[in-house]
């Protein structure tokens, strides 16, 4: 195999300058890595020194609690089906809260995302405004909104639903607008050329392109919201979280209930995941691709 015929005369400087660039890049990435490791070590030590107990001392006890829960659940396995029946209505309430809040939040998220995407926005000058609105909606933790609403409206599923929907709208506005940024603008231009209104352009030119991604983000959010609505049960918003709190904190022989609730939540998440991939497939590949 013949060697490379280095015919060029001006190649030396190119090699030198490229090598210099490579060296600089390596230096930067080395420094970044060093700073990262340093921050991790320092941060860990600071956190460990502020801890009540010692991190390394407490580590061996880490699995004590879960193993106790598992042991008790196994011991009382016969009672599990009964618990499933007892707590099923509470699970349904939790899923209901999650579903309604996901739907409402997604609808608001879609509007906010379209208004906040460069190239698509109805009022380009107001893009920063709509973006900040989604930022604020995401910044406030659900549990804070829920606590305020529970204080105002009293305990129950409605405050939980509003709290989660508020947060979902913010999160979806952000995620959807990132999806929207990759949209092909040619169909939109085509629709504009026939005199379509902004909402018509969005509905017919953008939505068909982004729908599969929107759907998969929304379904992922549904999963997250199931968990969120379970957590809000802890602060008095009803549903399975309330039952879980009772089972897990009063300890004394009720770990089997906690175990049953965990299993139900796990199965629910798996089901939602399976359903979401099925419908996403259907939307991307079309119905006829299946047969």
């Amino acid at each position: 195999m013949a060697d490379i015929s280095s015919a060029g005369t001006g190649i030396g400087p190119i090699q030198t300058s490229y090598m210099a660039m490579v060296q600089r890049k390596r230096l930067y990435s080395g420094l970044t890595l060093l700073i990262f490791i340093l921050l991790m070590v320092v941060g860990f030590n600071t956190a460990a020194s502020r801890n009540g107990g010692s991190f390394w001392g407490g580590l061996p006890n880490f699995f004590d609690y879960p193993s106790e829960v598992v042991a008790e659940v196994v011991e009382k396995a016969a009672a599990l089906p009964g618990h499933f029946v007892t707590y099923f209505p509470a699970l349904i309430e939790t899923i209901n809260i999650a579903a309604v809040s996901t739907l409402v939040g997604t609808v608001f998220g879609i509007v906010l995302s379209l208004l906040g995407t460069r190239g698509l926005a109805r009022y380009p000058r107001l893009i920063p405004l709509f973006r900040r609105i989604t930022d604020v909606m995401r910044a406030v933790p659900e549990i804070v909104i829920a606590l305020v609403l529970i204080f105002v409206l009293g305990g129950g599923p409605v405050p939980a639903m509003l709290a989660i929907a508020f947060h979902t709208a913010g999160a979806m506005g952000k995620l959807f607008s990132e999806v929207n940024e990759n949209v092909d603008l040619k169909p939109v231009e085509g629709l504009r050329s026939v005199g379509a209104t902004w909402s018509q352009q969005m509905m017919l030119g953008v939505v068909p392109q982004v729908a599969p991604n929107w759907l998969s983000y929304a379904l992922l959010r549904f999963e997250v919201n199931i968990r969120a609505s379970a957590i809000l049960g802890f602060v008095g918003a009803g549903g399975i979280g309330y039952e879980l709190k009772n089972a897990i904190s009063w300890g004394q022989g009720r770990f089997d209930v906690a175990g049953a609730i965990f299993i139900m939540l796990f199965v629910t998440i798996v089901l939602v995941d399976q359903l979401s991939s099925h419908y996403r497939d259907l939307l991307t590949h079309g119905r006829q691709a299946k047969d």
């Binding site: 490379i4 280095s6 060029g8 190119i14 090699q15 490229y18 490579v22 390596r26």
Partner: protein, 276 residues
């Protein structure tokens, strides 16, 4: 050197490649022509093992590469470089990094993650770029280059692999005539100077005639022609493309001279008509 025996590829009920036989004894430049969907790409993809053969064998110097797996398969892929119609570079990385990707088979994931290529490799990458006339673009991002330049970066990546065979899948189909000529000349030079075998899918006859030592015609998955470029008559071409008498080479040509020729002919006809 390279021998293909009864190579077949089926996609469900469709037969993409139907019992193809091919023997290459010594390094040469081979052009494969045929209609879209004739199975040209599938043959190349099976040789590079991007696609698995349904039946048949691919032998390289007596070694059966058809069913290699794991690192043996990747080592074979490093030995037979592939060039694509759409260049398949990493658009956001600089040109030299893209060329250095040709050495990935010899590098660990860890070294790749921290971008630790040996200095001599970097120098060699720039030498190869210089050989293809694009050394001055070395630090630019691949996406900033024109199509013809990007294809030459892809060729440089292939050369960086120091391969025995270069497989080129429609290397000039997305290029304008001028760039197509530069790229084809580069491939020809690599064959002549380095003695590497080049197998090239082409969609125009005149390119195959002009640059290749041997032409293979495929139709509906079968090899229907295998011979010297001179043996490729217009009648044979019609047979390969399944075209009727209206088929004209000049109409699909990407060669500058052919276009000039047909334009001159058209001008002559116009003149004749005007004077009549």
């Amino acid at each position: 050197m390279l021998r293909i025996e009864k190579l077949t590829k089926r996609f469900g009920a469709n037969v993409a490649v139907d019992a193809a036989d091919l023997t290459v004894d010594k390094p040469c430049m081979i052009g494969i022509i045929g209609r879209s969907g004739a199975g040209k790409s599938t043959v190349l993809r099976m040789i590079n093992r991007l696609a698995d053969a349904t039946e048949g064998k691919i032998l390289f110097e007596g070694r059966d590469v058809t069913n290699l797996t794991g690192s043996a398969k990747r080592a074979w892929q490093a030995e037979c470089a592939m060039i694509f119609q759409q260049f398949n570079l990493v658009p956001r990385m600089d040109v030299v990094s893209n060329v250095l990707h040709g050495t990935l088979n010899k590098r660990s994931t860890f070294a790749t993650m921290f971008n630790l290529y040996p200095t001599e490799d970097i120098h060699r990458a720039i030498e190869i770029l210089d050989r293809l006339g694009i050394a001055e673009h070395a630090p630019k991002r691949a996406e900033a280059l024109s199509g013809g330049q990007q294809q030459r970066v892809a060729i440089a990546r292939a050369l960086m692999q120091d391969p025995r065979i270069i497989l080129a899948d429609e290397p000039i189909a997305s290029l304008d005539p001028m760039n197509a000529q530069t790229v084809m000349e580069a491939l020809r030079r690599i064959h002549e100077e380095d003695g590497r075998t080049v197998i090239c899918n082409l969609h125009t006859l005149d390119t195959a005639r002009r640059y290749c030592d041997r032409v293979i015609g495929m139709r509906a998955g079968r090899i229907v022609f295998d011979g010297l470029p001179e043996q490729l008559t217009t009648a044979m071409a019609r047979e390969i493309y399944g075209a009727d008498a209206s088929f004209s080479e000049a109409a699909t040509s990407t060669e500058l001279e052919t276009l000039a020729r047909s334009e001159a002919a058209a001008a002559m006809i116009r003149e004749a008509e005007a004077s009549a």
